[in-house]
């Protein structure tokens, strides 16, 4: 089992490197280079050449890559193109907080509730409760994030008169509950977005296990329904469920960007959009690595959890 986990970790590391190559090359093949952009169209060729040398842009591409990747690992993301005096690291440091808070709170609140709902739906397949839940999640799963967000705003802000359609104010000095209140609508929206996926897939995972012969055997042994689900089914559904959770947390990465723009608070998403609009490739590289890295780590965690939860691997012959 440990060798398999090590192998997965190795694959994960390779993936991170591959991703970094894609991001690096992706931003390299673009028309124009950093020196030119920084100095503007009016700069003299000499000045551009000088800056190129200073930034290491005249080196062969693989050296540039190694330098960049080395810097990235040591936490140096370089300087912004659109604003040469600003370190990307400090730009990110200013903004990451809100994004992190929203993602983590969503995960903490949304995942357990959705899983519980999904498993409950699987416990009573075909019941009214199951049908309502399935229908709602089939509907919401295909709807875009900003539709769900609009729905939230309509219900809470317009119909109930609670909260605000924009998130304003600082998070400074707020405790957990105040933070949740502060980001109530973004978190609620994201919870709905991931819940629709999670409910559907965790229900399917449990139902899949429920149709296996050993569950039929448990029924024929007269095992009560509750114990069948909790002792016999859930244990074997852990692998698939963890996978579902990881997939959805990775999905949060996208959702978080859209939701941030929608509710207009300051986080990493607006930084990315700004980077794309100003074609600040250094900024895009840095943020791209952070988002993609998170994604890869989550997938890796799911893989490893699936290995650990497999009795065949945990207790080899």
């Amino acid at each position: 089992m440990y060798s398999m986990i090590l192998k997965r970790l190795g694959i994960g590391a390779i993936t991170v490197v591959a991703v970094s190559v894609i991001i690096f090359l992706g931003t390299k093949v673009l028309p124009g280079d950093a020196a030119q952009i920084r100095l503007g169209q009016s700069a003299t060729p000499e000045a551009v050449a000088a800056l190129r040398a200073e930034l290491g842009l005249d080196l062969p591409i693989y050296q540039q890559y190694l330098q960049w990747f080395g810097n990235f690992i040591t936490g140096n993301l370089g300087q912004s193109l659109s604003n040469p005096d600003v370190q990307i690291t400090s730009l990110i440091a200013d903004r990451y907080e809100n994004t992190l808070i929203v993602s983590v709170l969503t995960a903490i609140i949304g995942v357990p509730i959705s899983l519980a709902l999904g498993v409950m739906a699987a416990m009573f397949p075909g019941s009214i409760y199951d049908r309502i839940l399935t229908f709602t999640s089939v509907t919401l799963v295909a709807a875009p994030e900003f539709f769900t967000a609009t729905l939230m705003v309509l219900i809470f802000v317009f119909a109930l008169g609670i909260g605000n359609a924009v998130v304003v104010g600082s998070t400074e000095g707020k405790d957990l509950f105040q933070l949740i209140a502060h980001f109530a609508l973004p978190i609620a929206t994201l919870c709905f977005v991931i819940a629709s996926q999670l409910i559907r897939m965790s229900r399917a995972a449990v139902l899949n296990v429920m149709s296996s012969p050993y569950i039929e055997m448990a029924i024929l042994k007269g095992v009560p329904r509750k114990r069948i689900i909790l002792r016999h089914a859930l244990f074997n559904a852990i692998g698939p469920i963890v996978n579902v959770v990881a997939l959805n947390l990775a999905y949060l990465v996208t959702g978080v960007i859209v939701i941030e723009i929608y509710f207009g608070y300051q986080g990493l998403a607006s930084l990315i959009v700004q980077g794309v609009q100003t074609r600040d490739f250094v900024l895009i590289q840095g943020l791209g690595m952070i988002f993609c890295g998170t994604y890869v780590v989550l997938m890796l965690a799911a893989d490893i959890a699936a290995i650990v939860s497999n009795p065949r691997l945990r207790h080899p012959k």
């Binding site: 992706g26 359609a165 924009v166 990775a250």
Partner: protein
């Protein structure tokens, strides 16, 4: 049972009973599996089909039947933003008469106007073709490339498969929105770029699907039988694999289309997709977000958001029926 039982003897071990029989009746092999059921849409599936059909008609005919032009101003003299259909506060532009809601009907601005005084209904009708068109073409590209590469990798053997799949995995491990952002940053937000970009990004997903299906079929005995017969690669792909792969692939198209629509709309919503003043449902939400946030009007945001949601949910309702028919196999593959 009253009819003639042939023999009934009782002994210690139990009675002996023989059912009446007709010596001429043969005992054919019993059929164990009933024939597969025909595919039928459920009620929700029909709702989905009607909604999707409606949007397809709008997408095609929209620009011709829209009451106003895409960027035309229905109330050129009225500078107040957000004409929302409310009773009693709109005036007939010609007579200056208060017409209430009917003034809007008279002018055709059924849903009112947006932040720049354009008719929302007309923009939705123009946007329909754009959103659906871009997504459809992009999905088709993704299918074309993905299926060729995926089936190719499945047929070409482990070495080619290994290389192509590894590269594909690397791209798959990037969130699609990040890939999209990088590409848009590089090549600009024009519609062709968007189409190619979405097409390429979703090629990776289709590749994995097609490869999986191809692999499943490759190990079937009938493919091996064709190989043992000495058939060439062309026969195996076109006659043995493709007919069996087509159905599951085609039924997955709808699901992929949903994701592409959501992707394009999200990009547009971020201001990086279809660029104003061209109407697209995603950028319409973005442009009018302020109206919602400051409580001025809800229709300019709600209308395009609902448009996308009804379209994607409608497709999903159909897809759900199809995958239920295929025994849920599709949803497992995602």
């Amino acid at each position: 049972m009253t009819d003639t039982t042939q023999t009934t003897q009782s002994s210690d071990a139990g009675e002996h009973y023989v059912a009446p029989f007709d010596a001429n009746v043969s005992f054919d092999e019993l059929q164990d599996a009933p024939p597969p059921a025909k595919f039928k849409l459920s009620i929700t599936g029909w709702v989905g089909a009607i909604v999707v059909g409606f949007w397809l008609i709008v997408a095609i005919t929209g620009p011709f039947i829209a009451p106003f032009g895409e960027n035309e101003l229905p109330f050129p003299d009225d500078y107040s933003e957000y004409q929302t259909p409310r009773l009693g506060d709109a005036t007939d532009p010609e007579t200056g008469e208060e017409r209430g809601f009917f003034a809007q009907v008279y002018n055709g601005a059924l849903m009112g106007t947006d932040a720049e005084d354009r008719d929302i209904l007309s923009r939705i009708m123009y946007g329909a073709g754009r959103t659906i068109g871009i997504s459809f073409v992009a999905t088709t590209i993704a299918y074309f490339l993905g299926v060729i590469l995926g089936i190719g990798a499945a047929v070409a053997g482990p070495r080619v498969d290994m290389i192509v799949s590894r590269i594909n995995d690397a791209f798959l491990s990037l969130p699609s929105i990040m890939l999209g952002l990088v590409m848009v940053a590089a090549f600009g937000s024009t519609i062709p770029v968007l189409i190619v970009c979405a097409g390429l990004i979703y090629t990776t997903v289709v590749y994995r699907l097609a490869r999986g299906i191809g692999m499943d079929i490759m190990v079937m005995d009938y493919v091996e039988a064709a190989k043992v017969r000495g058939e060439g690669i062309w026969w195996i792909v076109t006659k043995e694999i493709w007919p069996n792969a087509a159905m599951p692939l085609i039924s997955d198209f709808g699901l992929r289309l949903i994701y592409v629509i959501l992707f394009i709309s999200s990009l547009s919503f971020l201001g990086l997709g279809v660029q104003p003043p061209q109407a697209d449902w995603g950028n319409m939400v973005k442009e009018n977000l302020g109206a919602l946030q400051y409580g001025e009007s809800i229709i300019p945001v709600v209308a395009p958001a609902v448009a996308i949601a009804t379209l994607t949910v409608g497709i999903n309702l159909i897809v759900d029926d199809i995958s239920a028919h295929a025994g849920g196999k599709l949803s497992k593959r995602m």
